[in-house]
Amino acid sequence: MPSEKKKIYIVDDDESVCRALKVLLTTFEFEVKTFNSADSFFDAVPSDEPGCLVLDIHMPGLDGWATQKRILDSGSKRPVIFISAEKQDNAADRALKVGAVGFLQKPFNGQSLVDLINVASENNQAVDKMAQ
């Protein structure tokens, strides 16, 4: 049975960052889809479709916080990792408070992101196991 690649979704209004992260995460054997807005992400990806979300905080329209709220409110268990180019002192704490897996300040190490993604999927598997 061919091992399926883990799916990663990236939502960031900066196209440059989207493209670069896609290239990087692909070298880690992830299957990556990118979106420039939360709305285009929600339009394309059903909430029960598994896959970790790498979510930029500062975006026009629905920002990162609002997006995470919508995900939570929908009952989705999708793990979210926040990223940001802005320096907010309490962003990391706030991220954890709203149920995110973690927060990374741009520019960040690729390995740091991958570590968080792996933590996210382990958590999810644990949750799934508990549900069984």
Binding site: S16, V23, A85, E86, P107, G110
Partner: protein, 301 residues
């Protein structure tokens, strides 16, 4: 239809005078009137001129205030601008880092020269990131985080940081650091900022003279509760008219200066519970001196 009245000519007027006399009187009257009116005009002219001068002065004052307001706005806007700049630059920096790391993985174990280049890219990206970080922290109004500090050690460490600056300018630092000073409560980084600011100003003041080379840093116990730090140079001194404005925002005697150093230094010292002052030396040069309260929690010594 209206009946037109017939004009009374001077010939019909009852008080008409003989022609030559009339001419003389009329001419005198006219000349008198002209003189009066000319005098009146002269006075009016002077008043107008004075008014115009006052207006010019008022305009100049408005212009000055406008310039200052613009400057303040510019600096305020500057903070905003730098903040959004930092945000904007972080995006391509993030992308570059990701690309370089992706390429490293793609050629893992191969192409050592390429690997080396990729690492250089990553390192320089780090440098740029660090600049952004420093820019951002500059903008923040930092509340000091206090810890017990040895002021003499702090001074020596700070000077060590810029020793090359000093020797390259062919200047010499002399220390007169009192022994057995009690610890102070201070924010290490912020106090270093103050010291660097004062030392750098002193070095600049001594730039033009080759015979004033010595910069003196002295610490002493002013009283039971206070430590005094003095930075003394033998440079060009402070012109009397600048003394009052020295610590004000945007005051600078340097053509390209921002004028923030001393005002920031003073706010830092004040946030520590001390005072920063300046005075001209009796000889040449100036001394900048500040006080810092002793760390009470440690008691005396």
């Amino acid at each position: 239809m209206k009946k037109l009245k017939k004009k009374t000519t001077e010939f019909n007027h009852p008080r008409v005078l003989k022609k030559p006399l009339l001419k003389k009187i009329t001419r005198n009257n006219l000349e008198k009137k002209i003189r009066q009116q000319t005098d009146g005009l002269r006075i009016r002219n002077t008043q107008l001129r004075q008014g115009a001068d006052r207006e010019k002065l008022a305009d100049l004052k408005i212009e000055e205030q406008r310039e200052e307001l613009l400057h303040v706005t510019r600096v305020g806007k500057l903070a905003e601008f730098v903040s959004s700049l930092a945000h904007e630059i972080s995006q391509p920096l993030a992308a570059i880092l990701s690309y370089a790391q992706a390429a490293q993985r793609m050629y893992a174990g191969r192409e050592p020269q390429l690997q080396e280049i990729l690492q250089y890219i990553i390192n320089d990206n780090q440098r740029a990131t660090e600049v952004i970080r420093r820019l951002r922290s500059l903008l923040k109004k930092n509340k000091p985080t206090f810890e017990p500090l040895d002021i003499n050690d702090l001074i020596k460490d700070t000077v060590a940081l810029i020793m090359t600056h000093i020797t390259v300018r062919n200047k010499v630092i002399k220390f007169e650091l009192a022994a057995n000073l009690p610890l102070i409560q201070g924010d290490r980084i912020q106090l270093q900022q103050v010291l660097l600011n004062l030392i750098s100003n002193s070095l600049e003041a001594m730039e033009d003279s080759s015979d004033s080379r010595e910069l003196l840093i002295r610490t002493s116990r002013k009283d039971a509760d206070t430590i005094m730090v003095e930075v003394r140079d033998s440079g060009c001194g402070i012109p009397e008219e600048n003394m009052k404005k020295l610590f004000k925002h945007f005051f600078t005697s340097k053509p390209d200066g921002l004028g923030m150093g001393l005002s920031i230094s003073r706010s830092i010292v004040e946030a520590h519970g001390g005072c920063l002052e300046a005075k001209n030396n009796s000889g040449s040069g100036a001394t900048f001196y500040f006080t810092i309260p002793v760390n009470m929690r440690n008691g005396n010594e």
